[in-house]
């Protein structure tokens, strides 16, 4: 697989459809607004189609192809009119980019449309760096952070340097890498509920490496992983704050962290 970054293009007047993702929509709207800010700051015309719910990954990964296909079509219909589709999640982006085309390959009406949508769907942070050509963001943050590379973003989309690059551009951010940042956090969607003890063993190793990194804040680009790691850290009484990376990049990390008392 070749993950070479495409050259940044002229983004003026391009229309971006924000795929909010179900977890951000339901649990952490702040991340959605952080994405909006970052994309608008980058000069895009942004819209949030109302006919979106979920990318279909839970169904797809559970073997329920019919529902996965129906949801894929719903996303394609709602988003195919945009120049770009951007999501604050490597895992949902991976679903659209890497799996929609094969999922709908044998439906003549949909195959080409799936490929077209897949080709213009990007994960937020890599989109900002690789497509919009952003080198730095106007944000500030004071403290040490550590970054977890979520599996789909890393291995399906090759996202590794982009978040670190933008983090480095935020004055006050001190990145302390954790050991094995590329190892799964044990979430795996329904896996975390179906095999709770195994999931727990994996996330326990993860929270140990997070704690050992000695940073005050844990960042990642996927809500599922973040809720898993935050849930474990909180159960263990850890004071480490957990946030989506977009919150820090968009200067929106002032509110309560994930799993902390909310004021909204």
């Amino acid at each position: 697989m070749n993950f070479a970054s495409p050259t940044p293009k002229d983004t003026k007047g391009k229309r971006v459809g924000l795929f909010v993702t179900c977890l951000v929509d339901l649990f952490r709207p702040t991340v959605g607004f952080a994405a909006v800010k970052l994309l608008e700051d980058a000069g895009f015309e942004l819209e949030v189609p109302r006919d979106q719910t979920c990318c279909g990954q839970p169904a797809y990964n559970s073997g329920d192809k019919d529902d996965a296909k129906a949801l894929a079509k719903q996303v394609i219909k709602a988003f195919e009119g945009y120049d770009y589709i951007v999501a604050p999640s490597g895992s949902c982006t991976g679903m659209i980019r890497k799996h929609y085309p094969s999922l709908l390959a044998d439906e003549p009406e949909w195959a080409d449309r799936a490929v077209a949508v897949a080709g213009k769907t990007y994960e937020l942070v890599s989109f900002l760096v690789d497509i919009a050509g952003i080198e730095k963001v106007s944000s500030h943050f004071t403290g040490t952070v550590t970054y977890h590379d979520s599996c789909s973003g890393l291995r399906e989309l090759g996202i590794k340097d982009q978040p670190r690059k933008l983090l480095a551009s935020v004055p006050g951010v001190d990145l302390k890498e954790m050991k094995d940042s590329d190892v799964c956090c044990g979430f795996g969607g329904t896996f975390s509920v179906k095999y709770p003890d195994i999931s727990n063993a994996i996330v326990s190793k993860k929270t140990k490496t997070i704690t050992d990194a000695g940073a005050g804040t844990l960042l990642a680009g996927d809500m599922g992983c973040l809720m898993n790691m935050a849930g474990k850290l909180k159960r263990d009484g850890s004071a480490i704050q957990v946030r989506h990376i977009a919150e820090v990049l968009a200067d929106m990390a002032d509110g309560p962290a994930i799993g902390e008392k909310s004021g909204r």
Partner: protein, 481 residues
């Protein structure tokens, strides 16, 4: 071997609670991952080799009949015999008959995962024969009456202290006060004990890492040299191999040997690579009088042409296992049959049935680390998902799970209803966790809250807040509802 894959969950829980096992399992992470990475980094053409290896195997599988046919002809021409076995039982009987025909009572055996599929040792022992495993790991496992927990490191779940205890228990002929507290002395003792077995053996059985069609050769790689002693010191050499092991030429072999050693142990080359072609010839200084190859199918030909054909490219390097977070947590025995880890979770349902092995493809986070290291570029997560599809089609997954999924999909497929319902649902959840923003208990998610808090939602959904923002901006763009 008793199949315990249906009890995967129970096996896994026991493994997680077993502190000795957990200590031993640390060696998998520490012993393999870094070494492989170093070896890969040191070989600039490694990625190109992976492509080449994948392409050769794919080609081979497309023309498997042709290459197997050629292989058999070459074996026969070099004075050996090929025996075709459709099932594990057939293969066991073939081996037994060969042993009987030469009046064999004792045999040595190199490492062979196929023989685990066949449960060969138990079968031969029932017939009154004495089988000794000569791979150190396998020998330890045999003394313990266990099965391998890893395809290249069969005793990786055993600690050094346990091995010492096993040796003291088994080798009663030796001085009880001998020193056995370091790996070297353990190795020395195993070597001395096994040495006698090699010389006494009537038959030597080995597996095969590859079969070469153009020359009719079988190839084994080991780090202990036990395979060589097993096959050259006995009168009869029996090779056990499954049909997908065949590759076209000796040149191709070079590609696979380079990939295998680096992916498995991070070595540039295994210590011993042995290519055997037929029995001893008149001018050879040593070698067996008879050379037999048992070619086992055991369900593999049925994988050809299906979603699972690519699994037959596997060269059993174990890299996917070594990099699997689930394997690191529960070890190999939890998987309940011969093959553990990601490769086992794809292969086992093919070979023993998804009705028995249904847990295995589900017990994965689909993190993709396996595929990223597989030298044969086997899309393991994709195939795990294929199994999940089969299970879903056949209604093999638990009813509550199906209903949960169906219920969720019902809403997700109706955006307007979904947004209304979720608005209410999130408000309720937030209301239930007003002080802490955490939920200790959640209906239908006991699995989650057993070990973790559930972070409560912020309150309003993004869609709700976005609609409010748009309304206050006087815009309705993108708002199709």
């Amino acid at each position: 071997m008793e199949i315990t894959s249906p009890d995967f969950k129970k096996n896994a829980s026991e493994a997680l609670a077993d502190t000795t096992l957990q200590r031993a399992l640390k060696n998998v992470e520490l012993g393999f991952i870094g070494k492989r990475q170093d070896a890969v980094d040191a070989l600039p053409e490694f990625e190109a080799l992976r492509d080449l290896g994948r392409d050769i195997k794919t080609h081979c599988l497309k023309h498997l009949d042709v290459y197997l046919d050629e292989y058999e002809k070459k074996v026969t021409a070099s004075g050996g015999h090929v025996h075709w076995a459709e099932t594990a039982q057939d293969a066991c009987e073939i081996v037994r008959d060969i042993c009987r025909s030469v009046g064999a009572r004792t045999m040595t055996k190199g490492k062979s995962m196929i023989s685990e599929e066949m449960q060969l040792n138990a079968f031969l022992e029932k017939d009154g024969m004495e089988v000794t495993e000569t791979d150190l790991g396998e020998y330890i496992i045999q003394l313990r009456g266990e099965h391998p927990s890893h395809i290249i490191a069969p005793a990786v779940h055993v600690t050094k202290e346990q091995v010492e205890a096993d040796f003291r228990r088994a080798h009663t002929q030796l001085d009880p006060n001998r020193n056995l507290d370091d790996p070297v002395s353990l190795l020395g003792e195993a070597r001395a004990v096994l040495r006698e077995k090699y010389f006494a053996a009537d038959v030597g059985i080995t597996g095969a890492n590859f079969l070469v069609a153009e020359s009719g050769s079988s190839v084994i790689v080991t780090n202990e040299g036990n395979g060589d002693l097993t096959q050259t010191l006995s009168r009869v050499h029996i090779v056990l191999a499954s049909i997908e092991k065949v590759i076209p030429t000796l040149n191709d072999l070079d590609v696979f040997l380079r990939l295998l050693a680096r992916s498995a142990t991070g070595q540039e080359q295994s210590v011993y690579t042995t290519i055997s072609t037929g029995p001893r010839r008149a001018e050879d200084p040593d070698g067996p009088e008879q050379y037999h190859v048992v070619l086992l199918d055991n369900g593999r030909s049925e994988m050809l042409g299906t979603d699972f054909e690519e699994m037959l490219r596997c060269i059993r390097c174990g890299a996917c296992i070594n990099h699997c977070p689930v394997y690191h947590a529960v070890g190999g025995h939890s998987y309940g049959w011969v093959y553990p880890g990601p490769m086992g979770s794809v292969l086992t349902p093919s070979l023993i049935g998804v009705d028995k092995a249904g847990h295995l493809p589900n017990a994965s986070t689909l993190c993709g680390r396996c595929e990223s290291v597989c030298p044969m570029r086997i899309p393991l997560p994709k195939m795990l998902r294929h199994w999940r599809e089969r299970e879903y089609e056949r209604h093999l997954n638990p009813t509550p799970q199906r209903w949960g999924l169906k219920g969720w999909a019902y809403f997700a497929r109706r955006p307007r209803l979904y947004h209304q319902t979720m608005r209410f649902g999130m408000r309720l959840m937030k209301y239930l966790a007003p002080q802490t923003a955490l939920m200790r208990r959640l209906p239908a998610a006991g699995g989650w809250t057993k070990h973790r808090e559930f972070p409560a939602p912020e309150g309003k959904t993004f869609q709700q807040l976005w609609a409010e923002r748009q309304a206050s901006n006087g815009q309705t763009k993108g708002d199709a509802a």
